[in-house]
């Protein structure tokens, strides 16, 4: 009897270890950004206070995302060139997320979804799911739905998907 419970427990333990620790490590591949950009340093040195100083909306309301080199130009005299950033928060192609609606209409501040990303002293490592290809930081649908439920903003599938 004891022997049975022992072997059973052994199996249980192995599985738990594998599932909780080995698996997450194996699932994500870590990829380096082209440049280790530090938000905190920029906030302090350049006196940039608002996220929107660099991450702006275009006239048509669409979000400009990661700024082009010309935004860096005023401070950095050496050309920054064009870089292929790995965007931690980039949604998959079938998602339509309007920053304009969430910022201008819902009056959310960036940290609500992005957390203290703006104060990060070190660049956040980009971890990509080997199976789905998603970034580990990307907001998942449950989080969207939760917030929408709390604020009683009902939208259909195509309200957020395209």
């Amino acid at each position: 009897m004891t022997r049975i419970s022992l072997t059973f427990g052994l199996g249980l333990a192995t599985a738990l270890a594998a599932g909780w620790f080995a698996f997450p490590y194996a699932l994500y591949v870590r990829r380096a950004e082209p440049l280790d950009f530090r938000h905190k340093a920029h906030a302090e040195k350049s006196g940039v206070s608002q996220c929107t100083d660099c991450h702006a909306l275009r006239d048509d309301g669409s979000f400009a995302g990661i700024p082009q080199a010309d935004v860096c130009a005023p401070c950095h005299n050496e050309s920054m060139g064009k870089r292929n950033w790995l965007v931690n928060f980039r949604q998959p192609a079938n998602v339509w997320f309007s920053h304009a609606i969430h910022m201008r209409r819902a009056k959310l501040d960036c940290a609500t979804c992005h957390g203290p990303y703006g104060e990060s002293a070190q660049p956040v490592a980009y971890q990509q799911d080997r199976i789905s290809g998603y970034s580990r930081q990307v907001m998942d649908m449950n989080t969207c739905e939760k917030c929408h439920r709390e604020r009683k903003v009902e939208v259909g599938c195509l309200g957020c998907h395209k």
Partner: protein, 544 residues
């Protein structure tokens, strides 16, 4: 102690139980489904910002205005501009530049060659003898470069008439006015008597007659042996045996003149109403009643789709030549050109513009340099020269054939062309450095428009030319999608001499809406239309 089978089983049981308490099975399940939603072999649309720009469709001489959505230097959507409606093909036109039939490489007799080879061969030909230049879309800046070249080289520049212009040819002959300066004043007509012209099916600018027809103000009478799209939708369809159209025209003319119900004065046609009725199989009374409708519900105009003088002459009796709502001569008009079918004499080489249809057969023994953006196959060209595709080059847009008023517009280039394409103008500039560039000609034309101070620019709103401070402003407005529109045609600006009632010519097949479409290929999405709907058969001679 040694491991027994039981130990393994219990261990396995524990492991299974444990695994279910970890995220592993659930995460894998979730991830695999996400994987199916983002399969790596499925192309992803661009994430670049979309800009809405204005330009004009140059795939046929009608030059409809476009609103084009552009993402990172590539059109990703085509919509009609405020002035026009578009043909079905235009909505897929932005995909044409990547059509498998796209020409990307100079070839000589089917073998890959370079632009330098082509230049060398063309220079040699230019030295050795006269060169004929064929163009199907005259009066563009690019066209006048070709025209200039031909003149300076001692060759000939000739054009191919569009379907609309062919139908106007008789009046040009009778009036001496160049056919490119004539047009139909449909906008003021109340009745159109069409002898086989596919007015609702791509004859002229796609939006022009259909829009007038859809308001219900226009009575459309279609004379045709079989039920075409236009006949089907027309106010009346007059079914006549093929070849008897002229007889009907004569019969109608006779009634109009005998009964003095039209202002026109002309000698009676030889054909009597009875004879017309006999030939067309239409009751005399129907012919009379039809003629009275023309007179009562004017302004009316008759269209001879294939330019048969014996039909065109009916407009004398209707009194619609040079009249409001009839056949008019535009203010500016255009020069008269030699047409390709009247081209004779020996030529060392023929330069064919990309707008020329592929069924055009040049003179046999000449060396043929053919520009084209897409390969129509089976051409007798020695040299195939890749030309810019849809919205890949800056060009100006002259008046559409058959239009009642002069217009001028500039089609901005919105798509980045492949590395190795050249326009004929660019090519000729390398042969004869004295030729003006397309840019120069466009500047000059804008200055000219500014100088004349007539007409207005139609864009989001209409602005008279006189309001512009400088030619640069005018040109800027034109380059951002505005259309210059001249004043209305002078009434009586067209005088035709009546000689005698012409003999009917053999009827020619009337072309449908793909007739003036320049590319020999169709947008893949239009091919869907052909295959999945029962709307129409694929047009002949176009590789879909």
């Amino acid at each position: 102690m040694e491991l027994t089978r039981r130990d393994l089983l219990t261990w396995g049981g524990g492991a299974t139980a444990g695994l279910l308490l970890t995220p592993l099975p659930w995460k894998v399940l979730d991830d695999t489904s996400k994987w199916t939603q983002n399969w790596p072999w499925i192309p992803q649309p661009s994430r670049a910002p979309i800009e809405v720009k204005r330009s004009f469709c140059t795939l046929c001489p009608n030059g409809c205005d476009l609103r084009v959505r552009v993402a990172s230097g590539t059109p990703v959507g085509v919509s009609p501009g405020p002035q026009s409606a578009l043909c079905p093909l235009a909505f897929g036109a932005h995909q044409l530049n990547w059509h498998p039939g796209r020409l990307r490489q100079v070839s000589h007799l089917g073998k890959a060659a370079s632009w330098n080879d082509a230049l060398a061969a063309f220079r040699k030909a230019a030295v050795e003898g006269p060169i004929a230049v064929v163009d199907a879309y005259p009066r563009r800046a690019g066209s006048s470069v070709m025209e200039n070249f031909a003149r300076r080289q001692g060759g000939t520049y000739c054009i191919i008439l569009s379907a609309e212009e062919r139908s106007l040819a008789p009046y040009a002959a009778w009036s001496g006015a160049p056919v490119t300066s004539l047009g139909y004043d449909f906008e003021h007509a109340r009745t159109i008597l069409s002898f086989g012209a596919p007015l609702l099916d791509g004859w002229g600018a796609p939006g022009r007659v259909p829009r007038l027809w859809s308001t219900g103000a226009l009575k459309l009478i279609q004379v045709e042996p079989s039920l075409s799209r236009t006949a089907n939708a027309a106010w009346r369809w007059i079914q006549v045996p093929s070849g008897s159209e002229a007889a009907l025209a004569a019969g109608l003319a006779r009634v109009l003149l005998e009964e003095h119900i039209s202002p026109a004065r002309a000698p009676l046609p030889p054909t009597t109403v009875a004879e017309a009725a006999a030939q067309t199989g239409i009751a005399e009374e129907t012919i009379r009643e039809l003629a009275r409708t023309l007179a009562a519900h004017g302004p009316a105009v008759a269209i001879a789709a294939d330019g048969d003088p014996a039909v065109a002459v009916l407009n004398f009796a209707v009194g619609s030549i040079g009249a409001r709502g009839g056949i008019v001569r535009r203010r500016e008009g255009g020069p008269s050109y030699l047409t390709a079918d009247n081209l004779n004499g020996h030529f060392r080489a023929v330069l064919i513009d990309a707008t020329v249809p592929w069924d055009f057969a040049p003179q046999a023994d000449a060396e043929v340099f053919r520009f084209a953006a897409w390969n129509g196959g089976g051409s007798r060209a020695h040299w195939l020269l890749p030309a810019p595709g849809f919205l890949e080059e800056l060009t100006d847009v002259p008046t559409a054939p058959g239009s009642a008023v002069d217009t001028y517009a500039i089609a901005a280039n919105l798509s980045t062309p492949p590395a190795d394409v050249r326009s004929p103008a660019g090519f000729l500039a390398q042969v004869d450095s004295a030729l003006p560039s397309v840019e120069d000609i466009i500047h000059a034309r804008c200055r000219e428009l500014f100088r004349t101070h007539t007409g207005a620019l139609q864009g989001e709103e209409t602005v008279p030319v006189s309001r512009f401070a400088a030619p640069e402003r005018l040109e800027e407005a034109l380059r951002t999608g505005s259309v210059w529109v001249a004043g209305p045609p002078r009434s009586g600006g067209l005088r035709c001499r009546f000689e005698q009632w012409p003999q009917p010519t053999a009827p020619r097949a009337t072309a449908d809406w793909t007739a003036t479409w320049v590319p020999p290929v169709l947008p893949p999405l239009a091919v869907k239309l052909y295959r999945e709907s029962s709307l129409r058969e694929p047009p002949a001679g176009r590789s879909i």
